[in-house]
């Protein structure tokens, strides 16, 4: 029962099934947008289709329980397969090595066999054969001494490289899963000049609190001479307990990491303008005092003339210009007698209000607020992933390009030790045509020497 389970868990068939299933699920994920909001999905799919897809987990497939379960099963499969194969590999590398007799009886389909008869003595032959196949790993001489056996092995140590490759894949997956569990990826938009310590998870838009506060000091886009954006630069300050810890510019490809949390430049934009430029004029000295104050509705602003304050009040009136519903109010006294003047060839109405010697003119200038979209990630155990990746690349190289080659040579005396019979069996781990060609060449050289 247990051995049956072991056989199933460690089978290549299971690995193939898992790999194909993971590939197919990954493929589905590329055709259905992942991690959109419910609203976005409902515009793409019908409600029924949405519910089916949601139930199947296809809308967040890479975080779904079955995707993770398949990955974990793949780890188990890799470990089980490796453990099952390992004793055989240990034996192939460190011995005890099979004898010539055992190998010849096994009839490995990859094996090549050659037999030569010669008058030369075994002692002499050993040296010659050694030149072709290297140092023998073992030498066995039977009791009556007319029989000797030699075993050669090349690149045997590289038999371990597939194991190392598999271990490295396990290391990578473990690193990824740890990051999945303990890390997060989120985004947030910060207005210029504002600070925040709340960020929203990418996978479900849930807010989470950061251990520090981020303030966006400045945002700007630089351009190439032909108007294509060259860089998106946000100046960001990290604030902890009301103390500014550091300030740094972040750009795409140049994030900022603080306390294991990395802040990436991801997008930018601007909010709907909510501040209107009010030109303040001293009517007595028009030339001497002119000033634009950017004001938003509901706030007092000092006109800087006789310390008189004013406020814009929103009045919603349908079908009117968006700039109309603002009334200039001074010191809690509403001034409603403002006039609207239209300037020729200019659609923008000029709104003028007057209070004593101060004139208020609404200008078409709007103040827009930029925000910077940042991605905030905590990528933990990344080094585990990198170590796994480096080991993987190196071990793949050694697994693919180094071929373990084993050779057994048996020397036996025939015709009352007048002649020696040489029998050679060679087995490569990988069935390469070039191996057999090399073998043939060695044999023909050996034959040439003997005749």
């Amino acid at each position: 029962m247990l051995s049956k389970l072991n056989k199933f868990i460690s089978s290549v068939k299971l690995a193939v099934f898992l790999f194909i299933t993971i590939a197919v699920l990954a493929m589905i994920g590329t055709f259905i947008n992942q991690g959109d909001t419910i609203k976005q999905y409902k515009t793409i799919f019908s409600p029924a289709a949405y519910h089916v897809l949601y139930w199947l987990g296809f809308l967040n497939i890479y975080d779904s329980w079955y995707f993770i379960a398949l990955t974990l099963l793949l780890i188990v499969n890799l470990i089980a397969a490796s453990i099952n194969m390992f004793p055989r590999t240990i034996k192939a590398v460190f011995g005890p090595y099979p004898s010539f007799q055992e190998v010849s009886e096994k009839k490995n389909p990859k094996a090549v066999y050659e037999a030569i008869e010669t008058k030369k003595k075994p002692e002499e032959l050993k040296e010659v054969i050694g030149k072709k196949f290297g140092e023998p790993l073992y030498e066995k001489i039977s009791e009556n001494s007319d029989k000797a056996e030699l075993y050669y092995s090349r690149n045997s140590i590289f038999r371990f490289s597939p194991y190392i490759a598999h271990i490295s894949v396990i290391i990578i997956i473990i690193g990824v899963l740890l990051n999945f569990k303990y890390g997060f990826r989120s985004y947030t938009n910060i207005k210029v000049g504002k600070k925040t310590n709340v960020t929203y998870l990418l996978k479900n838009n849930k807010p989470i609190k950061l251990p520090f506060t981020i303030r966006l000091d400045r945002y700007r886009t630089t351009y190439y001479s032909d108007g294509i954006p060259k860089a998106y630069i946000s100046t960001i300050s990290i604030i902890e307990e009301h103390i500014r810890i550091l300030t740094k510019n972040i750009e795409v490809n140049h994030p900022l990491t603080y306390k294991g949390i990395t802040i990436y430049q991801a997008s930018y934009g601007h909010y709907k303008p909510d501040k209107y430029g009010i030109l303040i004029v001293n009517l007595r000295h028009i030339k001497s005092f002119k000033k634009i104050i950017y004001a938003s509705a509901g706030k007092y602003y000092n006109s800087k003339i006789n310390n008189i304050k004013f406020m814009l009040i929103r009045v919603v009136r349908k079908g009117k210009m968006p700039y109309f519903p603002y009334i200039i109010k001074l010191n809690n006294k509403k001034i409603l007698n403002f006039r609207v003047i239209r300037v020729k060839n200019n659609n923008f109405p000029l709104i003028i209000a007057r209070y004593k010697n101060i004139g208020f003119i609404m200008t078409p200038q709007l103040k827009t607020y930029y925000y910077s979209g940042v991605e905030i990630s905590k990528n933990t155990y990344v080094s585990v992933v990198w170590i796994g990746c480096i080991i993987l690349v190196i071990s793949l190289f050694f697994s693919f390009f180094f071929n373990h080659e084993e050779t057994w040579v048996s020397l036996s005396g025939i015709n009352d030790a007048k002649k020696t019979k040489i029998e050679i069996i060679s087995i490569p781990k990988k069935k390469f045509n070039s191996f057999y060609k090399k073998f043939d060449k060695k044999i023909s050289e050996l034959k040439k020497y003997l005749h």
């Binding site: 290549v12 590939a23 990954a26 493929m27 190439y224 954006p229 490809n253 990630s377 990198w386 793949l396």
Partner: protein
């Protein structure tokens, strides 16, 4: 109206010239298949090398031009450059392979793929040769390593595709040979030009292995880049996902070979089908699914 990319300034004229050479080489190799003349295959090889040298020069010209107009990343990012570089890589691959093995018969497939890629770059209306300034997302020192490693992988898989086809031709035809021995003398000569099937088989394995090592390295480098630009080393971007699918496809191939001893025709078919996955990963993803890797106009992408 198709207007080919033939500007002297940005070097695309020289790429177009190299297209003519590679195409001439393709015709040469094609004739070689029917005549079996060693002379023709040698001439084709020389023409291919000439085309390759012109292309190298074109690269240098283009890089210098990009540098002069104030772009410090190498010209490898848009569809035009990408296709041209693909052709370049498989040409190198074939030239190296040709030095080690006697693979004249592979020439016609390789030169066909290379000239198709170059022609696509030259005539496809959306692949303009004008060098656009690099968008912020691509301004990174990782760019060149990421592209180079992956293109070596793509080139190797293209070569394995060609070898797979040769293997299928060889084994398919040699069966016929036994049955209709006398009738198909002409075809026999064609077959005799192909290397031994065992040699092709081994080279399919080796070329795919090279491709797989470079594909792995390229994905890892891409992940390292993403870690410094995208908020994490893996974002399940369509291109990333498809590169993983490609990786899985070839990993399955390697396992089938090692554990089940798959070889011969099965392996040749996998080499052919695997390349279809590669092509989808390389071009299909960009043209069908929008994502962070699209060869889109820079202004239409928000930042990344």
């Amino acid at each position: 109206m198709i207007s080919p990319n033939i500007s002297v300034l940005d070097g695309s004229l020289y790429f177009t010239v190299s297209l003519l050479f590679v195409f001439a080489s393709f015709i040469g190799y094609f004739i070689f298949l029917f005549t079996g003349s060693k002379m023709i295959s040698k001439i084709s090889f020389v023409i291919l090398i000439a085309g390759f040298i012109i292309q190298t020069a074109a690269f240098v010209i283009r890089w210098i031009y990009a540098y002069k107009i104030g772009i410090d990343t190498p010209p490898l990012v848009d569809l035009y450059d990408s296709m041209v570089f693909f052709a370049y890589v498989i040409e190198i691959g074939y030239i190296i392979l040709r030095i080690f093995y006697d693979f004249d018969a592979l020439g016609f497939i390789i030169t066909f793929i290379a000239s198709a890629a170059l022609a696509f770059a030259t005539f496809y209306p959306l692949a303009t040769s004008a060098i656009e300034p690099t968008i912020p997302a691509l301004q990174s020192y990782w760019l060149i390593y990421h592209i180079m490693t992956l293109f070596v992988a793509y080139g190797a898989f293209a070569a394995s595709f060609g070898l797979g086809i040769l293997y299928l031709i060889k084994t398919g035809k040699s069966k016929n040979k036994d049955i209709e021995n006398t009738k198909q003398k002409k075809q026999n000569r064609f077959l005799s030009l192909l290397p031994e099937s065992a040699v092709i088989e081994e080279s399919i394995y080796k070329v795919i292995s090279v491709g797989l090592v470079f594909l792995t390295a390229g994905i890892v480098i891409g992940a390292a880049w993403a870690d410094s630009a995208w908020g994490g080393y893996w974002s399940w971007d369509p291109k990333e996902t498809w590169s993983l699918i490609t990786w899985i496809a070839y990993i399955l191939f390697i396992h089938a070979r090692f554990t089940k001893g798959w070889g011969g025709k099965k392996m040749a078919w996998i080499a052919v089908i695997g390349f279809a996955v590669v092509i989808f990963c390389y071009l299909g993803v960009d043209l069908i699914i929008p994502g962070l890797h699209s060869y889109a106009t820079p202004s239409s992408t928000p930042i990344l």
